[in-house]
Subunit: 139 residues, 2 copies
DNA sequence: AGCTTAATGCAAATGCGTATCATATTCATC
DNA sequence: GATGAATATGATACGCATTTGCATTAAGCT
């Protein structure tokens, strides 16, 4: 309950109602909907009966990102998706049929990326890998 | 000269001046500037003395993409980048210092991606891999 | 050349995200 | 617990890349 409060304080953010609520929504999202757009979060807030402005949702999500509480993804959907940051890095697989987002992580690929950057005289700072897939049975 | 005309016809597109010009600009771009935004193409047109509307540039680029003549990339720069489609697939490395775009292709990563999708019961349809890097010497 | 249809250019409309600013809230201090 | 300075919020205006509506123009077939 006070867990969110502490997390916000640790991030150097004032404990406000919108921030607590947004954090709760992101943390309580089930695996299938871990990845939410600002609109998604906004709608969830409204359904919880909270009266928070969309501008605040955007602001808070950006603050959370800066604080390392959430991670922002730019899938090809045109709008940013956010998820509670995990301790370990992972990449994503998006099903073109259902839209579901599956997380995975492959050390081989991770390592190879570092090598490739190095071979070109660069240092790997970040990367974005998204697999677009379809159920094997589908036609 | 008539090469562009044929390419447009093959794509099922009417041969118009804007389309020819845009195709020429993309095809004649040197390796360092293969990847252009709609604005980039628009500016290049103006400098060639052509009077083409920006809306037309956007429309034509989208048509070229549909026809498989160009490939669209959504790097984290905020705007789409286009390049003449090559026969072989490749991925990109974007230098965060200079903005330069380097192409690479790694069969190991390509194969691993296919495996990962399969292991999750999916078929790999497409993927997007972008490495964000910095010159190794930079601080 | 004439005609039908698609393409173009301009301007207005979108849509996601950010900036502004007056008001409300937090929280350190009394 | 009240007070007040600093910060956060919400409504709205704005910015920017891209799209769309529509009157005009150009392509291409006869
Ligand atoms: Mn994730
Ligand atoms: Mn390329
Ligand atoms: Zn990764
Ligand atoms: Zn690839």
């Amino acid at each position: 309950m006070a867990a969110e409060n502490q997390e916000l304080r640790n991030a150097g953010l004032k404990v406000t109602l919108p921030r607590i609520k947004i954090l709760q929504i992101l943390e309580s999202a089930d695996p299938g909907s871990r990845h939410m757009s600002a609109e998604d979060v906004y709608r969830a807030l409204l359904q919880s009966g909270e009266d928070v402005g969309l501008a605040t949702v955007y602001r808070v999500l950006t603050q959370f990102e800066t604080a390392g509480i959430v991670t922002r993804h730019n899938f090809e959907t045109g709008h940013s998706m956010f998820e509670i940051a995990k301790d370990d890095h992972h990449d994503h697989m998006v099903c073109l049929s259902s839209g579901e987002v599956i997380e995975f992580s492959d050390s081989l690929i991770e390592e190879r990326q570092r090598q490739i950057a190095q071979e070109h005289g660069f240092e790997l700072i970040d990367h974005s890998l998204v697999l677009y897939v379809r159920k094997s049975s589908d036609d």
